[in-house]
Symmetry: C2
Subunit: 148 residues, 2 copies
DNA sequence: CTCGGTGCAAATGCTTTGCAATGTC
DNA sequence: GACATTGCAAAGCATTTGCACCGAG
């Protein structure tokens, strides 16, 4: 059901929408594939720059938009101003638990979340697309340091 | 269980944390109480300014932080850079369904969501604080206009 | 050859900060 | 009186944009 390879999938997506196939776009996709966990746009840009890439910040932002549009990566806002990204191509749909003290983010998968979301969307007559659930709390480590 | 009046509650909160009781803070709380639905910081600032208030933007931001900390208002990021706020004092805990085309935001209450979030947090050994669920879809109106 | 894409730097927009003046405790 | 809070303007930060050049189709 999902294409076997994100590069292949991205190529199809670009063609289907009459976007151009450029080396920069694939260089960025390659870098994204090698990120694990969450990353932000500037972090990705700097990592690529340090690795000798010549792509510009603007192109990184532009390409992350395209990758988000086609569902290869997901964009999150964890109550911050900056956007965080994550590859979701070929992975199971999951949600996040965030520590309000140290910012650590953990993931969990539970099919029920999507069911709730779908029910709510239908009840309000929306065509469901996707849902984001963030759970905020304080992790075990931060709770044992007992200040504030 | 909740205090009867947000002003009273805010006063207690400020005292408890050795923050000062200033007229600006209560002027802002008053304005927040008269907002219905979601609003952003600048919108609130401008509304107050037009109504003749002398409070500064900085104080509006500062006070919204305090109101968020003590749970009188909630701060959301609906995938945008700006933060949106809403009074939640004395209201039922609810979630949001957002139209990806026109940006309309509707609310829904589902007790299962919070129960579920609590379980998930505990399973990962987090002290649960709160949860945010955003559901993205396309509203009835936007679906009937059938272009992209 | 035509436009969409790129790199750069400057601009934008939301939010925060520095600092001197003010007002709460 | 001490020090948190205020107002103002300037700074900050993530992101977007304008524009001249480049290269994919």
């Amino acid at each position: 059901m999902t294409a076997p390879d994100p590069k292949e999938y991205f190529t199809q997506y670009l063609k289907r929408n009459n976007y151009r196939i450029t080396p920069e776009r694939f260089e960025i996709l390659e870098a994204v594939i090698h990120c694990d966990g969450h990353f932000d746009a500037d972090e990705l840009f700097l990592r690529m720059k340090n690795a000798g890439s010549k792509v510009s910040r603007a192109t990184v932002y532009n390409t992350l938009d395209k990758l988000t549009e086609c569902g290869i990566v997901a964009r999150y806002r964890f109550g911050e101003r900056l956007a965080r990204y994550e590859i979701v191509f070929g992975t199971e749909h999951h949600h996040h638990v965030i520590c309000r003290k140290c910012g650590k983010i953990e993931e969990f998968v539970d099919k029920r979340v999507e069911r709730f979301a779908r029910d709510a969307a239908e009840a309000l007559n929306y065509g469901f697309e996707h849902t984001v659930m963030h759970i905020y709390g304080v992790c075990r480590v931060c709770r044992t340091r007992k200040e504030t």
